[in-house]
Symmetry: C2
């Protein structure tokens, strides 16, 4: 590549950082790539970091030490995070989404990349220092959301299945009680996780937490620690609570008298007033 101007290096470095969140790039690798001095590249990175900081979305972090370098990670101001979640809540409160039986149609939201990626970034922000080795979800609806969180944290996604598959080799299987009280099965290939690792549990929805507890039980079988649990939507209030320490972005209230109603979770609103 012929020698580039500062503005061009900045465009390329910005692209590399943004496309690979949580991935540490060394200044030496940039220096080699662009044929420029490390001090020059350090200035480039500082300019990008400063621009993102002013903009309030996304952050460029410099990591010191032998394994040092720079990486991009999701960041939203408390106001911006709340606004984004509020926007999605409003979409979900469209009366045309109410189905017979009082159910809420939201499958489309769960697989619309622009929405899912924004909400995933807001969740990922909370677990940047969790040292999670992977994200775990249970098939099917939460997969895009869990995948997007894993992408932001720069870790792999593991998908627990309802049954074990021949093409996944020997597996660990557990049984758990679902929200509806029925006994369900959950399976994960043995080779998917190693003892001592940390899992971040991500799913689209939590009601009484039966499935979440199932995932915790599964992780116990692997001797894997739980780094956290986060959901896009949470039933409110929860009559039964099988797990604790979980967070969610929105709450869903429903009763036999009123239609389902979605709003941003309280903690998002509280943090906002503190900022």
């Amino acid at each position: 590549m012929s020698k580039l101007k500062r503005a061009q290096r900045i465009a390329i470095i910005s692209r590399m950082l943004v496309e690979n969140p949580s991935n540490v790039f060394t200044l030496s690798s940039f220096s080699k790539k662009f044929g420029a001095a490390k001090s020059t590249l350090s200035e480039d990175v500082a300019l990008i970091a400063d621009a993102f900081q002013k903009e309030g979305i996304g952050r460029v972090i410099t990591k010191q030490g032998v394994l040092g370098g720079v990486y991009y990670c999701p960041h939203f101001s408390a106001d911006k995070a709340y606004d984004e979640v509020l926007k999605v809540s409003r979409i979900l409160n469209d009366p045309r989404r109410i189905l017979p039986g009082g159910f809420l149609y939201w499958s489309d939201i769960l697989s619309t990349p622009s929405i899912v990626n924004t909400l995933a970034s807001i969740i990922a922000m909370e677990y940047l220092n969790s040292e999670a080795d992977f994200v775990l979800t249970m098939e099917t609806k939460g997969i895009p959301f869990a995948f997007a969180v894993a992408h932001q944290l720069g870790v792999p996604l593991l998908v627990a299945r309802r049954t074990s598959k021949v093409y996944e080799g020997s597996s660990v299987n557990i049984n758990y009680f679902s929200g509806k009280g029925s006994l369900e099965a959950m399976s994960l290939p043995k080779r998917a996780a190693k003892a001592g690792e940390k899992a971040l549990i991500i799913d689209d929805f939590i009601s009484d937490g039966g499935t979440a507890l199932g995932m915790c039980t599964l992780m116990k079988e692997f001797n894997v620690h739980i780094a956290g649990m986060a959901f896009m939507l949470s039933e409110d209030p929860r009559k039964v609570r099988h797990v604790s320490g979980d967070i969610s972005l929105m709450t869903l209230s429903r009763s036999s008298e009123a239609p389902p109603y979605v709003q941003p979770a309280q903690w998002l609103n509280e943090r906002r007033s503190k900022e």
Copy 2:
């Protein structure tokens, strides 16, 4: 926001473009955001486009006309695309991946964001002009890949399920013969797609194409056209071929005599020599 320098504007515009592939931004919106003249921003965008072009990864396209503006789309040179696919093929040919029965373990690859996003970008590149309104996949394993392709094309993802769900409302259900000859069901909410739209079918694996044909049948019920069909991995040779016009990134050869073997698809290699 206080007035930014060119380098800072370039960092922010690069981030916006890269985080929202196929999303058209008008120069007016940039002009308003940065408080700078459209001619200045036009120069910024030209600098970014030029830098990405030199780098060979990703492209910034200027769209003329009333709905004009600029957008980012995936791009790899033929060599780079081949190299990336070859890298994944080599990972898959690790003998430790061979399971009892000659199956290949690759669930981990299907949900590792860095790999999935790169392969999805290579596929999305082929369908930039397909005018697909959405990506369709069948649960479960191909969801992250299909989601990543949808993200690159800036369209939603639709996930067909094995059974219809109460929380998805009324649905269209079809039956199809799977590769193993068993009769399976496929379901999609009625409100998920509109007549006249175009679907891009994406899945992780194609063998004889039974599931792919099922998705085509399902789309016919919705009066939706097929804009294309693409897979990460394809059985080679295919004994039966229920569909045509599909592409895949890698081929999988297996027989009772030899272990499974994965290699980049022929078209990726051919295109390379032509470039």
